[in-house]
């Protein structure tokens, strides 16, 4: 039988190899926060009578600056609408004025029309500083609240297994692993493709948390069941290993179906939720990995209290 458990430190190493680069990017560049959390306004404009190559980012930025939006970040691209190629500009500015936002929109659109012909405002979102601060606080509360609720539920659900708290804690560590993977990847993607951390990202993160625990529970449920029918002389490692092997087809199949549906969304599902889907894909793969290769392995580490030997044997065991 393939022995997954005996290779546990290799699995931990693989996790580290993914997390550490992300952590480095996170430390160096941080996350690129969207307007939901940082405040500001996002203008998505379509120029129906102008080619993309004729759009000048500096000129558009200057038009915004003349009308009270200094430091506008302009991104020009071509989008396809009903098979037609349309020049588009996404502009990020400070938030609209609280007293006369309507006037600001009209002057900007009039100035852009003067320069480039007809301009359609596809979408415009503006988030004021109080709202973005509240959103950030709520986000932190939501993530913490989800963690605590799941820990309590798992401890109760596994109360008949020996050491129920272990299951909750190990599931939580695996979940933390996924959060770290996703945050690290978000930092890397933010640096290279400009992925922004917005409300959609938060939705994805919380979904990943719940799916990660979902996966872990399926494996833990097997361990719990196999422990109850434990034969004399059977060691804990073997029970865990056996449980993983038993649930492996299910883990892979569920993972595959999720990847299928998410890939369909990624390819056909429209631009607006593309980042949401991308983050979900990363997180779900990490979630399946961590439930098999982290959560269950941690149970074994805890059973043997292996941390006692880590320092005795030096750094090789830790790696």
């Amino acid at each position: 039988m393939k022995n997954i458990v005996s290779l546990r430190y290799i699995w931990f190493l693989i996790s580290l190899l993914v997390i550490v680069p992300g952590a480095i990017y996170f430390a160096l560049y941080g996350l690129r926060t969207g307007i939901d959390f940082a405040g500001g306004a996002l203008w998505d404009l379509h120029f129906t009578t102008t080619q993309t190559k004729d759009l000048n980012t500096e000129k558009i930025g200057a038009i915004f600056a003349q009308n009270g939006f200094e430091g506008a970040q302009v991104q020009v691209s071509t989008v396809k609408v009903d098979g037609k190629e349309i020049a588009s500009a996404v502009v990020r500015t400070k938030e609209l004025s609280a007293t006369a936002p309507e006037q600001q929109q009209r002057t900007i659109l009039a100035a852009l029309t003067k320069a480039y012909g007809e301009v359609n405002r596809e979408s415009l979102q503006s988030v004021g500083p109080t709202v973005s601060a509240e959103a950030t606080r709520s986000a932190a509360i939501a993530v913490l609240g989800a963690c605590v609720a799941i820990l309590i539920y798992l401890t109760v659900a596994f109360r008949k297994a020996p050491n129920p708290l272990r299951y909750g804690v190990c599931a939580l560590i695996a979940m933390l692993h996924d959060v770290l993977v996703v945050l690290g990847m978000a930092a890397i993607l933010g640096h290279f493709i400009g992925l922004e951390v917005d409300a959609y990202f938060l939705t994805a993160l919380l979904t990943i948390i719940s799916f990660s625990v979902h996966d872990t529970i399926v494996v833990f449920d097997r361990i719990r069941e196999n422990l109850m029918h434990r034969r004399a002389g059977e060691v804990f490692d073997d029970i865990v290993n056996h449980s993983i092997v038993q649930t492996l087809p299910r883990s892979i199949n569920t993972q595959l179906t999720s990847i299928f549906t998410l890939t369909a969304l990624l390819l056909f599902g429209g631009v607006t939720i593309r980042n949401l889907v991308l983050v979900l894909l990363i997180g779900l793969i990490s979630g399946t990995y961590s439930s098999i290769f982290n959560a269950s392995q941690l149970l074994v580490v805890w059973e043997h209290q292996e941390w006692r030997t880590w320092f005795r044997r030096g750094s090789s065991a830790e790696a």
């Binding site: 988030v127 939501a142 569920t254």
Partner: protein
Amino acid sequence: MRNREIVPFLFIMLITGLCAWIAFAPDNTWLGRDVSVRLGLDLQGGTQVLMKADGVVEKDIMATAATVIEKRVNGLGVSEAIVQLSGKDRIIVELPGVRDPEQAIETLRGTGRLEFIDTKGKFLNEGTIVRTSGNPEPKVPEVDASKPVDPANPQPTVSPEVYQSITDGRDLDTRQVALRVTNDKISTKPAVSFAFTGQSASDLATFTAANIQKPMCIVLDNVIVSCPVVQSALIGGSGEITTNARADAEKILNQLKYGSLPITLSIESSRTVSATLGANSVQASIVAGMVGLIIVALFMIIYYRLPGLLATVALIIYSIIIFAIHKLIPITLTLSGIAGFILSIGLAVDANVLIFARLKEELRNKRSLLRAVDAGFDEAWPAIRDSSASTLITSAILFVFGNSFGVSLIKGFALTLALGILLSLFTAVVVTRTFLRLIVRNEGLHSPWLYEISNDPDLQEQSAV
């Protein structure tokens, strides 16, 4: 014995039939009820604003303000609009499908305080912001002093002097506010007629009688609307405001008709989406959903064969029920809601996958087919229950947290996800199980190939354990 399957089977058929009836109801009416799909702002276009009252405001004043805004929204003729109090001092307004969002929002949040002022014989230009004795500190859009003024669009300035108000906006008789289009030979100018009552009416009469052939300015929310010359004394306090365009007249009408707002509102956040962007998102999502469903169905059938086919039928039933629930309640469909739905397909499949994996094991352990079906469900149940519960907990937290405005799109996602979990429990545990039980009674469907167990490479290993 047979009743054990027949009753649930009939129940499933009844539910599915009912839901299909709702989901595909002709003209989107079901039993006289409108069951058309409600699309969120991101899918049909429109605007959403969060407005905050300036200063400390009492609760019932906020409620009055919300009522006034709601009446004005109805006056705009926007269907399915939402006006909602949020927290102590905020109002959320959602206007789906509105064509000119700026104009609409201006209309809604304009205070609507109508005043006549004594300008001591001076004419003032339209659009000038004035201080009046009624409101000496008007709100002015922030002006950036370092910027050169665009001559075509000069920033408004505020008059230094405070003009005496002749009337008080509170004395406006809202019942007598009406739109009038006068057709004289010179021009067609839409106008709004109005009438004051009480003290303001008699003050206006006294003032106009004393100032014939002199200008008198009409001020709305501290902005000069017009400065007509008094032709005769205005007895009874009635008069009219002439405008240049019908849209302007309609805006003033809407603001005056439903009474003035007791507070000033500033805009904290806003979201505007064009209708075309929304329509594209709907199409993209439908394609993505269909492609996702088809791939999952193919995968299930190829991998699990007969049970996979049954699971696919269960999945279709699941989709029909979800769709019917969205139409019936109705739940507003948003982009993130669709993402939640497509993810929940994965969850629905997962419950089936868990059961089938157990079923295979039981069959390998040489159980009879019927016993294997029951055992498979019983063994898989704790895992399904615990994992569903943990996902439900997270969706509940997402839902509560999604009430915070900045992230309101999360709410739709949480709701569809939670609904998806509950329903997938039903389809996996009731629908698939009943179908499987009915099938295994049929001797012709007992071939091991149908359950994909004869040529499994892991068979030896598994049974050895």
